[in-house]
Amino acid sequence: MNTFESWLLLIIIMIPLIGAAVFIFMPKDREEMIQWSATILGLITMVLSIYCFAAYNHNDGGFQFANSWIWLDLPSNPIIGQQAIQLNLGIDGISAPMIMLTGIVMFTGVLASRSISDRPKEFFVLFFLLISGVFGVFASLDLFFLFFFYELSVLPMYLLIGIWGSSTDFKTFIRTKEYGAMKLMLYLVAGSVLIWISILAIFAESGLGTFLIPALSEIDFNTTFQLIIFPLVALGFGILAGLWPFHTWSPDGHVAAPTAVSMVHAGVLMKLGAYGIIRVGMFLLPEGAEQWAPVLLGLGTVNVIYGALSALGQRDLKYVIGYSSVSHMGYVLMGIATLNVIGLSGAVLQMFSHGIMTALFFVVVGVIYERTHTRDIGVLEGIAKKMGWVAVLFVIAGLTSLGLPGLSGFVAELLVFIGLFQTYPILGMLGIIGAGITAIYILRLVAKVFFGKLNEDIWNNMVDSKFSKQADSNYWERVSSVVLAITILVVGLFPFPFIKVIDTGVTEILAAMAGSL
């Protein structure tokens, strides 16, 4: 491994961080400059993250691009000797696609935020901080830093939603952005408390005096300990993954957040939860995972069906997508809980696929909202006439969501289903039925909002005067959404390269599980 590769992950984490620091010192009124530098940094990061995935050698497996820097020497302990908290970076087959996902969503998110005119400088500072944290979580092999980056990615959300967000105001149903931000924050902090408790418990129980994940995974924790700690881990990370019944922050948060933040939030941040369950829960506490898997599976099934049905009853475009995220994350949880190669690979691929798909959804809905200042399904009708690109891309995202073959959602869900049928055929059937319900709400939405006759009067009243000539997405938004759509197509048609890498990581985790059982 050459020097560049061993520094690659650090570079990927640091680019947004340094970018954020640089933005702070940029003059406020030079918006163009800030937007351009954000775009360029985003592009570089995306390219690097894709390189990172492509260069991952799936034959060797294991943690690659690994490198470590000692951050803090813990007080020396006579029994275990001198140990340190290290910034230990490395990716395996599960985190590699997640890194790529983050890179893609970051770049497209920056493109989609170019239209932000309210304090763009501060927006990009916080946004880059958030992204840096997300990269950090996926790349960290040290529980301490995993938690550190996790918090780093959670905290900026509050400001991003609270300041740049948008409120829902139907006469009968009001959710302010402050409410959404606060709720999201409280939930995620509650989750992180559980995570921190369990991380410290694992640290103490191991007796190694280290937070290193590979070292900790060698240890067989005793069964009682695993049985007690796994639910804490699963719940703590599960909150972030939208685990029922702790999911309500997610639709409210998605709806309140500005476009780019919704994208990162639904696209990547929720994946942190699922990733944490795999990395910390399953990898370190295999027996606990084994014992609690049925519960996780049951909750995942509830997520799928419940999320889909809830989405059916929503009026706000973003709420529909918010609940569809809850539903789709259910597939991830189900896939994780199958504890077999196919299901788990499906879960990881679903994380990737759903990330891209939701990001696409939110770009498109963001465009609609910016142009019309409404997301009310009851009001919007036939807007495909004015917004051709938006309609096409929304339909692509919708079809992905309902699992149309040829798009990424199908492959992922199929693998989850096959995995489920190995162990729990009935739940597998419920999962497939959930996909059927998804078809209902997506197609209803598409038929109502995009198709049908456009009422010109309503439209002229609704549309922002800035956009009355050209209501369709601008070039940046088009590039952003087309990048996402192409990713969906590529993964849907040629999933093999992705699955190969994911499979490596999944196999190792399951081997570790089998070894310790």
Binding site: F173, K183, L186, P245, T248, W249, D252, Y306, L309, S310, A311, L312, G313, Q314, Y323, N340, V341, I342, S345, G346, G382, A384, K385, L399, L404, P405, G406, F410, V411, L414, L415, F417, I418, F421, P425, G428, M429, I432, I433, A435, G436, A439, I440, Y441, L443, R444, V446, A447, F450, F451, G452, K453, L454, P495, F496, I499, K500, D503, V506, T507
Partner: protein, 634 residues
């Protein structure tokens, strides 16, 4: 199954690929051209040229495949698509006599329909897009036919559904078209969900998606009865959805909101036949489950009669044809239920050609009379558009079962197959259905084309040649293809034996004569009711007015579904959403926040703001800590 000669097989996988590439080319070039030329009409012909070239190439390659199948008996090739753990999921194609027959049908009809569409869709806003979806649909449908494993088949199956969705909703600015597209997708989706479950169940039992391997395992008893029966039933439900069998038939009549050539291609000849094709394809495994075969037969029978009765009362020409399609698909299913694969496929082909002809004819009529679809507002069009009229008559007569047209032979084969299965009651009911189908065909042919011409149709005229040439080709085929059933030469032992060597060509004269009599009787009856009016239709209606009303309202099934969707599914969705909002969110989540707030209201009284309180509390606390420390220390 590996074939030595793979030339034909390679040709086979190229066929759908060309169309897929054509789809991409059209979509991309549309966008790029849009940036350079503001005047789209100059480029409009680009799209049909690309897509028609693609499908023409497919049609030419079809002959190569056919030759290969005739000489070497087909085979399969496949490649890896996915490897997960130890499980391989492959993409592959499989060519045999049935699939090659379907291949010919689909490429041929697609070709004609696309040519026809150039004339029909001229001047439409989204002209290029229309041909793009056509190419996409053709690619998907051809893939479906060729797929050698169930997953790949499902893959194509869904894409076919997508093509249908896009084409039905092609005029999406019409609310009804948008709704119809949605309805079609969702209804078939219900079937698809079952199909996927069935496929995965089979995968679980056998560890493979490959159809022939599944057959081997199933035949050697490697699958338990429960799994086998349930998965076959689920697969059949999938087929029912696509083939619009009762009770999933509701989407097909609504799908007529799409452009008429689309109805001809997708909703008559190809996509709806996919269900029948699937069942035929899976026949070896269906035969292992006689109970399911019985269900297939009964569903087919119900659909046949039931849709036929509705076809008899509809006044929209396309809807009549749609119900007739459903009815004929039911007939094919019925036949498959008795094990008659060859007969069903033969009827599929004959019906596909004839129905495409009828739809294109109907389209031609609509095109010339300003998109009027109500048959009662037409009449005497025979004089205005003779070619359309004659070809339409040929198609109708073929489907009505008049000798020596193709429909006569195929229907005869079907009846024979039912007879051989020993289902006499079914046979009797089927004969009633044959009468019905001849009657509605007479109605839909006689009312618009014969009789006197109403005033407002004086201006109507024959369509352009690009539209009537396909009609003529189809009419010729529709008339002549029936003879394929006969053992024409020493090497060709007749259709049935060609498809399935265990069958032999035979005739049952009394059945043949009976069906001819029934068809003729229906035609005469129709002629006297609708043309000579010697028998009043009104009197017949008054015979059982409520029954008539029920049929006219499609047996209230659409209303029932609407009710279920509105009152059950949506209401349930709303209920869950409300539950989420009220119970989970407001009570549990905000409730916990509120309870914290309320307890804070109680405890905040401690914050008196007086120095005294804080000082005393602090000091007492320090004392308490001191005492604690003391106690702990000793």
């Amino acid at each position: 199954m590996e074939s030595n000669n793979t030339l034909g097989l390679h040709a086979a996988w190229i066929i759908p690929s060309i169309s897929a590439v054509a789809f991409l080319i059209i979509v991309v070039s549309m966008r790029i051209a849009g940036y350079f030329y503001s005047d789209r009409t100059k480029l409009a012909l680009l799209a049909p040229i690309v897509s028609i070239t693609a499908i023409l190439a497919g049609f030419i390659l079809f002959w190569l495949v056919l030759l290969d199948v005739l000489n070497f008996g087909g085979g399969s090739i496949s490649m890896n698509w996915l490897v997960v753990g130890l499980t391989e999921i492959r993409w592959g194609i499989f060519v045999d006599k049935v699939s090659v027959a379907m291949l010919g049908l689909v490429t041929f009809i697609s070709l004609l329909v696309q040519v026809y569409s150039i004339g029909y869709m001229k001047g439409d806003k989204h002209f290029e897009w229309y041909f793009a979806i056509h190419a996409l649909f053709a690619a998907a449908m051809l893939t479906l036919i060729l797929a050698d494993n169930l997953l790949f088949l499902y893959f194509a199956w869904e894409l076919v559904g997508l093509g249908s969705y896009l084409l039905i909703g092609f005029w999406w600015e019409k609310r009804s078209a948008a709704e119809a597209a949605k309805k079609a997708f969702i209804t078939t989706r219900i079937g698809d969900v079952c199909l996927l479950i069935g496929i995965i169940l089979l995968f679980k039992a056998t560890g493979t998606f490959n159809i022939s391997t599944i057959f081997h395992i199933a035949e050697s008893g490697g699958i338990s009865d429960a799994i086998l029966n349930s998965s076959i039933l689920l697969i059949f439900i999938g087929a029912m959805g696509k083939s619009a069998q009762f009770p999933f038939h509701v989407w097909l009549p609504d799908a007529m909101e799409g452009p008429t050539p689309v109805s001809a291609l997708i909703h008559a000849a190809t996509m709806v036949a996919a269900g029948v094709y699937l069942v035929a394809r899976m026949m070896p495994i269906f035969e292992l489950a006689p109970e399911i075969m019985l269900i297939v037969m009964i569903i087919g029978l119900i659909t046949f009669i039931f849709a036929g009765s509705m076809a008899l009362v509809m006044s929209d020409i396309k809807r009549v044809l749609a119900y007739s399609t459903i009815s004929h698909l039911g007939l094919m299913m019925l036949c498959l239920g008795t094990g008659g694969v060859a007969a069903a496929i033969f009827h599929l082909i004959v019906h596909g050609i004839a129905k495409a002809l009828l739809f294109l004819g109907a389209g031609s009529v609509m095109h010339s009379i300003d998109n009027e679809t109500n048959i009662w507002k037409m009449g005497g069009l025979r004089h205005r558009m003779p070619i359309t009229a004659i070809t339409f008559f040929i198609g109708a007569a073929s489907l009505a079962g008049l000798p020596p047209l193709a429909g006569f032979f195929s229907k005869d084969e079907l009846l024979l197959s039912i007879l051989h299965d020993g289902q006499y009651v079914v046979l009797a009911i089927t004969l009633l259905g044959v009468f019905l189908s001849a009657l509605y065909m007479a109605r839909v042919a006689i009312v618009p084309f014969l009789g006197s011409t109403p005033k407002h149709l004086e201006q109507s005229h024959e369509s352009s040649s690009i539209m009537w040439v396909p009609l003529v080709i189809l009419a010729i085929l529709s008339a002549g293809i029936g003879f394929l059933i006969l053992p024409l030469s020493s090497t060709y032992p007749g259709w049935a034996e060609f498809i399935d060597p265990s069958h032999h060509f035979e005739l049952e004269p009394w059945l043949m004569i009976l069906s001819i009599i029934l068809a003729l009787a229906a035609l005469i009856f129709g002629w006297s009711v609708y043309l000579r009016k010697s028998v009043s239709a009104k009197q017949i209606i008054e015979f059982a007015p409520s029954f008539y009303k029920t049929i006219l309202n499609k047996y209230y099934i659409d209303d029932l579904y609407q009710w279920i969707i509105d009152k059950c599914v949506l209401a349930f969705g709303n209920l869950v959403a409300l539950f989420d909002r009220v119970v989970i969110n407001d009570k549990a989540v905000d409730g916990s926040a509120i309870s914290v707030y309320m307890s804070a209201l109680k405890t905040r009284v401690l914050q008196t703001g007086y120095l005294f309180t804080y000082g005393a509390a602090m000091m007492l606390g320090a004392c308490g800590l001191a005492i604690l420390w003391w106690i702990l220390l000793d």
